[in-house]
């Protein structure tokens, strides 16, 4: 018998690109299994993985919640969730094979007995299904419950590993609400689970288009020479949603758009767009570059001119009458929570000095879109008449993350006719609607990576802390002074006037995505 590190599996071959990596024997425990995320994303993703043959033969799925359910009831819930939301067609054989490993443990987070039951349930799965003592815990629960659950796992002996076994914990945003709370959270988690077994889910990083940013930048010769302040004028990163916050008051009130989205999704996108080429695509090398670029990033001063925030009011949006935030159920009528946040970042490196990065996000905006636009400088000299280039804007390269994933390049072209007239046109690469149907859902990719122990798509604690360091000065400023004032904006528009002002002060303007 050879040890695991000396063993070379004779059936694996780097040239064999067809062979998928199947996760090893393992069980996934979901806390907060009755939630929306679990029903709409996690359970269907698990089924889709099983259907694509990527889950191990002995896979266990354990739900933990307060409901008084038997295994059978939980199985029903999973079954319905899969039928309704799974991406791949329902296959009875795959399902029955998966269903054999489904268990439910009833209890609350402060109930010692429930966690002991969970421990014995997992032990039983290990012997019946051969899950090999490898357990992942998915905490789909409010962060306030993290300490309790994590300490319970420790108490019940569920966090202890032995040789050839692993324990992993998966947590969801928000990773704290400022630097100190993020550090506190990291400490709590790291006391029980070492950092290499902590997986923070930022589902944006599981999206094909986001991973494609790396391919676009580092696999091509075309873009790299112009990817710097000599040619780039500024960068806009937008994540806009057209939905409101009805029903999400408990989570959102007091948190706001900036903490909810800019801290994680947008700053991660910024890191991927701005970072230097990693030495290799090994998780540690990739992370080293992200940490470097985030540590060079600062919010641009003065904040009253470089930031904007707003709150939506009611009105007509897309043919429907929608309520304003203050009228949404659950929000205090005096709520100061911002539903639109925008900041300006500068990156103090040779590559990016002097190039502002504008980040904005909001609810009830014009339409649902996430994109990164790299806007280039104007040509230094235009050998045309002034009138010929009146309609020519700046060249831009836009990575559309969602929906309608793809890349657009905007450039000038001659308008047909006998005069020389140049106008903006676009060249479009689309993954295409049908194409993306088959590409894996972000959660599929991320869950599989958790089971495989592949950390490159998960932000680590230093990345989280660095992004709070970027954001904290702005949040403090907003809390201290009421400036820029929390402006109102009408549902269905692109945010408050201060958002336009923050780009207009340097002669720039937001793209209409």
């Amino acid at each position: 018998m050879t040890s695991s590190d000396k063993w070379r599996n004779p059936l694996r071959d780097a040239a064999d690109k067809r062979l998928p990596r199947i996760a090893g024997p393992s069980a996934l425990v979901i806390f907060g299994v009755t939630g929306d995320l679990s029903r709409k994303k996690l359970m269907p993703a698990i089924y889709d993985l099983a259907n694509r043959g990527l889950l191990p033969p002995g896979f266990g799925l354990v739900g933990f919640a307060r409901r008084d359910w038997a295994d059978q009831d939980f199985m029903e819930v999973v079954h319905d969730a899969v039928k309704e939301h799974a991406r791949t067609p329902f296959n009875e054989h795959v399902w029955s094979q998966l269903a054999e490993g489904i268990r439910f443990v009833q209890g609350t987070f402060d109930d010692d007995q429930a966690f002991d039951n969970l421990a014995s349930c997992l032990a039983a799965l290990d012997s019946e299904r051969g899950t090999g003592g490898n357990h992942a815990f998915y905490l789909s629960i409010p962060p306030s419950a993290f300490p309790t659950v994590i300490n319970q796992l420790k108490r019940a002996g569920l966090a202890q590993t032995s040789r050839d076994q692993w324990r992993r914990v998966v947590i969801e945003k928000p990773f704290g609400h400022d630097l100190s709370s993020a550090k506190e959270l990291n400490r709590t988690v790291n006391e029980v689970f070492p950092e290499e077994s902590v997986f923070r889910i930022d589902h944006y990083l599981g999206k094909e288009t986001v991973q494609n940013i790396l391919a676009l930048r580092f696999a091509n010769q075309l873009y790299e020479p112009i990817w710097n302040s000599n040619y780039v004028d500024h960068v806009q990163i937008t994540m806009a949603e057209d939905i409101g916050l009805g029903g999400r008051a408990g989570y959102y009130d007091g948190i706001g758009a900036t903490r909810d989205v800019i801290q994680n999704h947008l700053l991660q996108l910024l890191a991927l767009i701005a970072m230097e080429e990693p030495v290799s695509f090994k998780p540690s090398d990739l992370r080293a570059e992200k940490v470097k670029i985030l540590s060079a990033t600062r919010p641009a001063q003065p904040f009253e001119e470089t930031t904007a925030r707003g709150q939506y009011t009611g009105g007509w949006q897309g043919g429907q009458k929608v309520p304003g935030l203050l009228e949404e159920g659950g929000f205090s009528p005096e709520s100061k929570t911002e539903t639109f946040g925008a900041i300006t970042c500068e990156i103090n490196t040779r590559r990016w000095a002097g190039v502002p990065f504008f980040l904005r996000t909001g609810k009830r905006l014009g339409r649902r879109v996430t994109e990164v636009a790299v806007v280039f400088k104007r040509a230094p000299h235009l050998p045309f008449d002034d009138t010929a280039t009146e309609e020519l804007g700046q060249n831009a390269l836009v990575v559309r993350v969602q929906p309608d994933e793809g890349v657009t390049i905007r450039f000038g072209s001659k308008v047909p006719g006998n005069t020389m007239e140049v106008r903006d046109v676009t060249m479009d690469f689309g993954y295409g609607h049908s194409f993306t149907e088959s590409s894996p859902e972000a959660y599929e990719r991320l869950l599989l990576d958790v089971l495989l122990g592949e950390p490159s798509l998960f932000p680590k604690n230093d990345e989280v802390e660095l992004s709070w360091e970027i954001l904290d000065p702005v949040l403090d400023f907003w809390a201290r002074k009421d400036e820029p004032a929390l402006e109102k904006y009408k549902a269905g528009t692109w945010g408050p006037p201060s958002a336009d002002a923050m780009t207009a002060r340097t002669g720039r303007h937001w793209r209409r995505p």
Partner: protein
Amino acid sequence: MIIDLPSTTTSQINSRLVRLRDEGGATTLGRVLTLVIVTEDGQRTDAAIDAANDASREHPCRVIVVARGARQAAPRLDAQIRVGGDAGASEVVVLRLYGELAKEGASCVMPLLLPDTPVVAWWPFDAPVSPSKDPIGQLAQRRITDAAAEKNPIKALESRRAHYAPGDTDLAWTRLTLWRAMLAASLDLPPYEKIIEAEVTGEADSPSTDLLAAWLTDKLKVPARRFKATSGEGIVQVRLGRASGDVDLIRPDGKVGTLSQPGQPSRRVALQRRSIRDCLAEELRRLDPDEVYAAALKSLSKVAKGRPATAKPETPEATNGAAPASKKSKAKASS
């Protein structure tokens, strides 16, 4: 939308495609490859087009179908263009070639290839003896054949070995991926021991079974033995022998497999046979030469043929190893 262009030329087809693009928007943008399907004109052609349309949802492509019609007829090219709902995410150009033209498919395909993107040729049924020497095969970077769909699958596989060129691939190999993944994954776990023997059992005319045995022979450096199954469809069983106990993967019914390993409970594995569209989509994912397939083909001759060791002659007529004729058609598409 389906547009018929009877008795036409490729330049007429091309200008019609450009016009369609002008009228209907960006129908040809973002295509990543051209897939050329070569078949005899007949009912089965449509099944192949459907599979290609499904695969195009993952790989937007232009599909050119070369359907060879009656050789005795007067030379004529009939074309049909399908776009939109009738063509998945692809645009399909069906070329029906009659008379002398039937042998000159490549000349009709050439003007319709998308510029600067890979070309994949697929023979869903009977393939030329040497795909890489075939005029259409020469246009393609990747040549897909299907030994299981030919009249004599085992002989077809032998011919693939004899005429292999980089870029060739066969769906009999694609159908193996799930099996191979499962077996590789089972060796990722302890005990980390050398495999000392390997046995593969499957239907007599299942080329995938032969290929699996050859792959194991190549990778494990022990001659795998290939047995004829007395029941079941396609591949039925794989056994990897090692000192502390065997890895055993059995699929008696062509749907669900059972994996047993010493020290672990036996587990059921979904190993359903893969549809053509799945296989095709997998093939289109990789356009570089498949070295592992080449190595497996080369090892075909090293596979030891065995008598059924676990012979349980439930049906007397099956003991001679030949599948009953009534099952033949099903067996051909087996994985």
